[in-house]
Amino acid sequence: AQSVTQLDSQVPVFEEAPVELRCNYSSSVSVYLFWYVQYPNQGLQLLLKYLSGSTLVKGINGFEAEFNKSQTSFHLRKPSVHISDTAEYFCAVDPMNTGFQKLVFGTGTRLLVSP
């Protein structure tokens, strides 16, 4: 079985500062990795995903994430955040070769951007 750990339940940051949201996972097989964002009173939206190839993945809104297989991590980063980035961010994993049938989400990290 797979599991996802997002250790930081909340990350406060000032506008224009860099941010990193941490995600670690546990799996006995290779996995696909995803980051989703949930803005207030909305559903989740895909930010970026790692399926194969380059371990540095770029997503929407200036976010990027790096897959580190040895550390089983997929941390999300942005060099300069905006107020509009205030949202809940969910990391998720899905074991390969299951046709994306076993997606498992973390508990989420709330990013709070203040002026």
């Binding site: 989703y36 559903g43 399926l51 994306f100 498992v104 989400f105 989420g108």
Partner: protein
């Protein structure tokens, strides 16, 4: 922009009432899902469907039921609501087959409060 819609967005009802949460998508996706979301918790899969007349229970036990009579429609029903059913319910869909890149498209959610 995702074309998946949930109604109602917010619902407050008394114990013992029957409720149906509606979910419709216009993307022609075969695969549809219902997740339950509580604050500080991971999203839990409660039901899924891989096509018309196909429904399965997810990882989290739920007293709700679902139906899939049409591709675009995946309603969730609670025959007798209880306070323990208070939660946010998220509907999602994705493509099947070669078009499946793992991305889930989410509705905006239905927040249910049972008094």
């Amino acid at each position: 922009e995702a074309d998946i819609y949930q109604t109602p967005r917010y619902l407050v009802i008394g114990t013992g009432k029957k409720i149906t949460l509606e979910c419709s998508q216009t993307m022609g996706h075969d695969k549809m899902y219902w997740y339950q979301q509580d604050p500080g918790m991971e999203l839990h899969l409660i039901h899924y469907s891989y096509g018309v007349n196909s429904t399965e229970k997810g990882d989290l036990s739920s007293e709700s039921t679902v139906s899939r009579i049409r591709t675009e429609h995946f309603p969730l029903t609670l025959e007798s609501a209880r306070p323990s059913h208070t939660s946010q319910y998220l509907c999602a869909s994705r493509q099947a087959g070669t078009g499946n890149t793992g991305e889930l498209f989410f509705g905006e959610g239905s927040r249910l409060t049972v008094l």
